[in-house]
C-alpha cells in the first residue's frame, strides 16, 4: 500500500488522526487537515476522498450516513479499533523517521 509513498502515507495518518477524536464527515476532515498542517499539505483537496474510501476498504475507517450541523445528509467517518492500532503504529514510525530526518538536517545544516 501507500506506505512507501510519503504523501499518501502522510495523508492516511492525518485523516485517521482527524477522526480519532470522534466521527467527522469528509468536509470536517478536510478542514481539520488544512488547519492542522497550516496549508503545507494543501495540494488538491479532493485527493482526500479516494484516501478515505481506501482506508474504509482496509477496515481502518467505518462510515455511516447522518445529518451534518447544517441538517444536510452527510457521510460520517469513524475510526475502527484496527484503525486506532494502525494510527498508533504509523505515528510511532513517523516520529522515528522524522526524528532521524531532523537529526540529519541538524547535522548537515549546522
Amino acid at each position: 500500500m501507500g506506505g512507501s509513498d510519503l504523501f499518501t502515507g502522510t495523508l492516511d495518518i492525518l485523516a485517521l488522526r482527524a477522526v480519532s477524536a470522534g466521527p467527522l464527515h469528509g468536509y470536517g476532515i478536510g478542514r481539520h487537515l488544512r488547519d492542522s498542517s497550516s496549508g503545507v499539505l494543501n495540494v488538491e483537496e479532493g485527493a482526500l476522498y479516494p484516501a478515505l474510501h481506501r482506508l474504509e476498504g482496509q477496515g481502518l475507517l467505518k462510515s455511516t450516513w447522518g445529518r451534518s450541523e447544517t441538517g444536510r445528509r452527510a457521510k460520517f467517518y469513524r475510526i475502527t479499533p484496527e484503525g486506532r492500532r494502525h494510527l498508533a503504529r504509523s505515528t510511532e514510525r513517523w516520529r522515528q523517521f522524522s526524528g532521524a530526518v531532523d537529526q540529519v538536517l541538524a547535522e548537515t545544516g549546522g
Partner: protein, 901 residues
C-alpha cells in the same frame, strides 16, 4: 445483491459526498466575503476535477468490495474444512470405514482407468493419425480382419482414389546375429517403401526406408532400427548407421534409427526393426519364397495395409471404394478370390493385436464397468453412513439453524465433510491403484497384451480422473444426506427435544440405497459366477486334444540358415531323442500345434468330384507333421490311418484331413480314398493329386471359441520345411520335468538354435485362458468386496431403523408383543428393498451378460444355475445382515425405554 446495483449505489453516494464537500467549502468562502459564484469556482478549483475524484472513489469501493467478498468466502471455506476435520477426528471409526470404502472404490477404478487409457486411448507416434486407416479383407467364415496378398495390395493401392497412399506391413520374428553376444530374436516389420513417408515418421539419425529401397524383385538389404533397440542393444552408439548386421544370417546395412516417439502401430507391441518388403525373400530362407508370394492371391502374408485418406474423404467412402475394387478383382479372376468384405480400423488409436480388435476393448470396458459398479456400491454405502450420521446430528444442525446459519451454509459444510472424506479416500485410493496395477502386472489382456508392457501409470489424465472421481463421489454421496439433514423439520425436532422417528424421506432414501446396493451386488456376483463357471468348463472342455503330460518346444532352424532338408533331419533327431527319454510314450514334430499355433500355410485347393460353390473359396490351412502327431497330441483319428515312416519322399502324396473338411467336401463320408490338389492358375498344369488316407477330429488352434475350418495335414517327410517347428512329446508323468532336458539336448544338437517356446501344453492352455482367469479373479474379488459392502450397508440400515424405533418397539412389547414378533416386524420392513434389489439386479445382469458372451466358453448366457445360486446366496447373506441387528431390537427392555421418556 447484484454487482451492478452495488456500483450504481456507490456512484450515487460518492457524488453526493463530493457535492456536500463543495457546498460546505463554498459556504466557508462566502462567509469569508466572496460572492457566491466566485466562492463556488474557488471551491471546485481547490478540490480538483470532481468527476475524476468520483471515479477514483468508486474504483476504491469496488476493489474493497471484491476483496471483502473473496476474503469472506475463503474464510468460510477454511471454516468448513476446519469443522469437517474436527468432525472426522471426533468420529474416527466412521472416518476410517468411510475412507477405506472410498479408497477401495476409487483406487480400483483409477487402476482400471489407467489401464484403459494405456490400452485404448493412446495413439501411435505418427503424423495426423486421424487420417490413417488399417485396411483388412475378410476371410474364412467372414472373420473381419485377415491378411492380404501382395497382388491385392498392389491393386488396392493403384486402383483407389480415396486413399492418398497405401503401405504394406508384415510382422515377422527374425534372428539378429551378433558375433559378440550371440543371436537374439527381434520383432521385425517388413514394410513397403512408402511406409515411413506415408506415416510421416522422422528418423532420429540416418534415414528411413524409401521407395528406392523396395523395387520389385530387388529389395535392398537395408534395415532401420528402433530407438529402443539402438539404445538397448547397440548401447546408443553414435556410429551405428552404416554398420552391417546379420538378420537370419544375411547381411543388412543399418541406414537409420527411427524417431523415439515411433514404436510401431500395435498397442504394447514394439517393433525392433524394419526392412523393405521386397527384401523378405532374402530374409526368409525357403519359407515364404517358394509359394509365389508376389503373384498368388491365395498367399495372404501381408498382415496389414495402412492407408492415408485423401483430405475430406470419410473412412466409409474409402471402404466403399475398396469394396468396389475387391468386387472387380473377383469378376476378373473368379478362381482366385472368394467374396470378400473390407474392414477399416482408424489409427487415431493404437491398433489392437491382430485378432483381438473386438475382444480387447470389450474386455477392458467390461473391467471398467465392474469397477464402476463397485465404486457406485461404495458410494451407496457411504451415503448410508452419512445419512445415519446426519440423523444423530439433527440436534447440532437444529441448533445451528436456530442461531441463524443458513441452510445453504449447512449443506455446504456437510458437503465439505464428504469432500474431505473423498479427498482422503482418493489419496489413499492412489495407493490402492498402484497396488492393483502391480498385482495385475503379470496378467495379459485379450490379444496377449501384457499389462506390464502397457506402461499404465498414475499420471496426467489418470490423476485428473482420480481427482474427478473423488469430487464426483463426494457430491453423489454427500448431497442427499446433506439436504436431508438440514430440512426445516429439524427445527421442530429440536423443539420437541427428541429426534423424530425414521419416516418419510430418510427412510425411503435409505431403503432405496439398500435396494441399489443389492442390485449392484447381484450384477457383480452373476458376472463373476459366470466367469468362474466358464473357466471351469473351459478347463474341462473338449478341445480336441489331451493336454496333460505333453511337453512342447518351438524352434526355427530356417532362422539360422538351415535348409528345408537339414531342418527335417534336425526334427527327426530331436524326435528320436525324445522317444528315448524315460516316460515318453510318443513324440512328433509339426509346423502347427493346437492351442499354441505356429506357421499356418494357407492355400487354395480343389477336391476331386466336388463342384466348388461360388461363395466357397475352398481355402485350406496346411500343417506339416511327422508320424505320431495325432497320437502325441491326443487328437482322435476318426477314420483311416496316421502317417508312417513309409510316407516319405518318393512315395505317393498322402494327406489327413480334419473332420470339418471331410464333412463339407465328402458329405457321404467317403473322405478316405478321395483326392485333392492345390489349385493352379488357369492354363497351368494341375497340381499333383494328394490322396486322403485319414480323418482327424477338429481341434482348437488358438482360441476357445473358434469355429472349425478346413485343415489338411501332410507328411513333413514329403514336404520338408525349415519354418517354425514345434516338438511335442507325451509323457506318462509330469511334462514339465522333461523341459530342462529338452533345452540341454537342443543346445547339444545345435548350439546356435534358440527355443522360441518351451512349455507344457497345460501351461499353454493356461495362457490361452488368461482373460478368463483374469476376469474370474477380478470379478470374484470385486463381487466379494461388493457383498461385504452390501452386508455392512444392510446391517447399518437395520440397526439405524431399530435405534430410531426403540420407543415404538418398547411400547409394543409393553403391550405384550413377543420377541419373535418384534424380530419379524423388523425383518418385514427390510423385505421390500431386498426383494426389489434382488429382482432389479437379476434383470440387469440378464441384460448385461450378453456382453460377456465372448468371454464365456461353454456357459450359455443366462445360465440358470448361476442365477439361482446367486439369488439364494445373496438372500441368505442379506437375511443374516438383517437378523443380527433385528435381534438387538428384541432385547429392548420396554421398562427402560419408557422410563427414559
Amino acid at each position: 445483491m447484484s454487482l451492478w446495483r452495488d456500483e450504481a449505489k456507490a456512484r450515487r453516494e460518492a457524488r453526493d459526498e463530493i457535492r456536500f464537500y463543495l457546498e460546505m467549502r463554498a459556504r466557508e468562502l462566502r462567509e469569508q466575503g466572496m460572492d457566491p459564484d466566485e466562492a463556488w469556482r474557488t471551491a471546485v478549483q481547490a478540490f480538483g476535477d470532481p468527476e475524476r475524484i468520483e471515479q477514483e472513489v468508486v474504483g476504491m469501493d469496488e476493489r474493497a468490495r471484491m476483496r471483502h467478498s473473496l476474503g469472506q468466502w475463503l474464510a468460510s471455506v477454511a471454516q468448513d474444512i476446519r469443522y469437517a476435520g474436527r468432525f472426522l477426528v471426533g468420529n474416527r471409526l466412521f472416518a476410517t470405514v468411510a475412507v477405506t470404502t472410498l479408497a477401495l472404490g476409487i483406487g480400483a477404478t483409477t487402476a482400471i482407468y489407467s489401464l484403459l487409457d494405456a490400452a485404448l486411448l493412446q495413439h501411435p507416434g505418427v503424423e495426423d493419425p486421424g487420417s490413417l486407416v488399417a485396411v483388412y479383407t475378410t476371410c474364412r467364415l467372414g472373420a473381419p480382419r485377415c491378411s492380404s496378398s501382395y497382388p491385392d495390395f498392389i491393386d488396392y493401392r493403384d486402383r483407389t482414389e480415396s486413399l492418398a497412399d497405401l503401405a504394406a506391413t508384415a510382422l515377422f520374428t527374425a534372428s539378429l546375429g551378433d558375433e559378440a553376444r550371440g543371436s537374439r530374436l527381434v520383432a521385425t516389420e517388413m514394410v513397403s517403401g512408402n511406409f515411413f513417408s506415408l506415416l510421416g515418421v522422422e528418423p532420429a539419425s540416418g534415414r528411413l526406408i524409401q521407395s528406392a529401397d523396395d523395387p520389385v524383385g530387388a529389395g535392398a538389404q537395408v534395415v532401420v532400427i528402433s530407438h529402443a533397440l539402438w539404445r538397448d542393444h547397440f548401447g546408443a552408439s553414435p556410429d551405428v548407421v552404416g554398420r552391417t548386421i546379420r538378420l537370419n544370417g544375411s547381411p543388412f546395412a543399418v541406414v537409420g534409427v527411427a524417431s523415439e516417439s515411433f514404436d510401431g502401430l500395435t498397442v504394447a507391441r514394439t517393433t525392433d526393426l524394419w526392412v523393405p518388403l521386397q527384401a523378405s525373400t532374402t530374409l526368409i530362407p525357403g519359407g515364404l519364397g517358394r509359394d509365389g508370394i508376389w503373384s498368388e492371391r491365395g498367399s495372404r502374408w501381408i498382415g496389414r495395409l495402412i492407408g492415408r485418406l485423401v483430405p475430406g474423404v470419410t473412412p466409409e467412402q474409402a471402404r466403399a471404394e475398396l469394396l468396389a475394387v475387391s468386387d472387380r478383382l473377383r469378376e476378373e479372376d473368379p478362381d482366385a478370390r472368394g467374396p470378400r468384405s473390407i474392414t477399416l480400423d482408424p489409427l487415431s488409436r493404437y491398433l489392437a493385436p491382430v485378432g483381438s480388435e473386438e475382444a480387447l476393448p470389450q474386455f477392458v470396458w467390461l473391467l471398467m464397468g465392474v469397477v464402476g459398479m463397485t465404486l457406485l456400491l461404495a458410494c451407496a454405502n457411504l451415503a448410508n453412513l452419512l445419512l445415519a450420521r446426519a440423523a444423530t446430528r439433527k440436534t447440532e444442525m437444529g441448533v445451528r439453524i436456530a442461531i441463524g446459519a443458513g441452510r445453504r451454509r449447512l449443506v455446504r459444510q456437510l458437503l465439505a465433510e464428504s469432500l474431505l472424506l473423498s479427498g482422503l479416500g482418493g489419496a489413499a485410493g492412489l495407493l490402492v491403484a498402484r497396488a492393483v496395477l502391480a498385482l495385475l502386472g503379470s496378467f495379459e489382456l485379450p490379444g496377449g497384451v501384457a499389462i506390464g508392457a502397457l506402461d499404465a501409470g498414475l499420471e496426467g489424465r489418470v490423476l485428473a480422473a482420480a481427482a474427478g472421481l473423488a469430487a464426483f463421489t463426494a457430491v453423489l454421496c454427500g448431497l442427499a444426506p446433506a439436504l436431508h439433514a438440514t430440512r426445516a423439520d429439524v427445527v421442530a425436532a429440536l423443539k420437541s427435544g427428541r429426534a423424530p422417528e425414521a419416516r418419510g424421506g430418510a427412510g425411503r432414501l435409505r431403503r432405496a440405497l439398500v435396494a441399489t446396493q443389492v442390485a449392484l451386488c447381484v450384477v457383480l456376483l452373476v458376472g463373476s459366477g459366470l466367469f468362474v463357471r466358464a473357466l471351469g468348463s473351459a478347463l474341462d472342455a473338449d478341445l480336441g486334444v489331451r493336454t496333460e503330460g505333453v511337453a512342447l518346444a518351438g524352434f526355427s532352424p530356417g532362422l539360422i540358415g538351415y535348409s528345408d532338408v537339414e531342418a527335417l533331419t534336425l526334427a527327426e533327431e530331436l524326435r528320436r531323442w525324445s522317444l528315448a527319454q524315460p516316460g515318453v510314450r510318443s513324440a512328433a514334430v509339426a509346423t502347427v500345434v493346437p492351442l499354441v499355433g505356429g506357421g499356418r500355410m494357407g492355400r487354395f485347393a480343389d477336391v476331386d468330384g466336388h463342384e466348388r460353390a461360388p461363395d466357397d473359396e475352398l481355402r485350406i490351412d496346411v500343417v506339416y507333421v511327422t508320424p505320431a502327431y495325432f497320437e502325441t497330441l491326443g487328437v482322435p483319428l476318426l477314420a483311416g490311418r496316421d502317417f508312417d515312416d513309409a510316407d516319405g519322399a518318393g512315395a505317393a502324396d498322402v494327406a489327413v484331413v480334419n473332420r470339418e473338411m471331410a464333412r463339407r467336401y465328402w458329405p457321404e463320408g467317403h473322405a478316405v480314398g478321395g483326392t485333392l490338389g492345390y489349385r493352379t492358375p488357369p492354363g497351368a498344369p494341375p497340381g499333383p493329386p494328394i490322396r486322403v488316407v485319414g480323418v482327424a477330429d477338429d481341434v482348437h488352434w488358438s482360441d476357445l471359441v473358434e469355429e472349425p475350418t478346413n485343415f489338411v495335414f501332410l507328411p513333413m517327410a514329403q514336404t520338408p520345411t525349415a519354418l517354425t517347428l514345434t516338438l511335442a512329446a507325451r509323457t506318462d508323468g509330469d511334462a514339465s520335468r522333461l523341459l530342462p532336458a529338452i533345452r540341454t539336448e537342443a543346445r547339444t544338437v545345435e548350439p546356435d538354435l534358440s527355443l522360441d517356446l518351451l512349455t507344457t501344453m497345460e501351461d499353454a492352455l493356461g495362457d490361452l485362458l488368461m482373460p478368463q482367469r483374469m476376469g474370474a479373479l477380478l470379478l470374484s474379488a470385486f463381487a466379494i468386496l461388493a457383498l461385504v459392502l452390501a452386508a455392512v450397508g444392510i446391517a447399518g440400515v437395520v440397526s439405524y431403523t431399530v435405534s430410531r424405533q426403540r420407543r415404538s418397539i418398547g411400547v409394543r412389547m409393553a403391550l405384550g408383543a413377543r420377541r419373535d414378533q418384534v424380530v419379524r416386524m423388523v425383518l418385514g420392513g427390510m423385505m421390500g428393498p431386498l426383494a426389489i434389489g434382488l429382482l432389479a439386479g437379476l434383470a440387469a445382469a440378464a441384460v448385461l451378460d450378453d456382453a460377456l458372451e465372448r468371454f464365456l466358453y461353454g456357459v450359455s448366457p443366462g445360465d440358470a444355475a448361476t442365477y439361482v445360486a446367486i439369488a439364494v446366496g445373496l438372500a441368505v447373506v442379506a437375511l443374516a445382515a438383517t437378523l443380527l441387528p433385528a435381534r438387538a431390537a428384541a432385547r429392548i427392555d420396554p421398562v427402560e425405554v419408557l422410563n427414559a421418556e
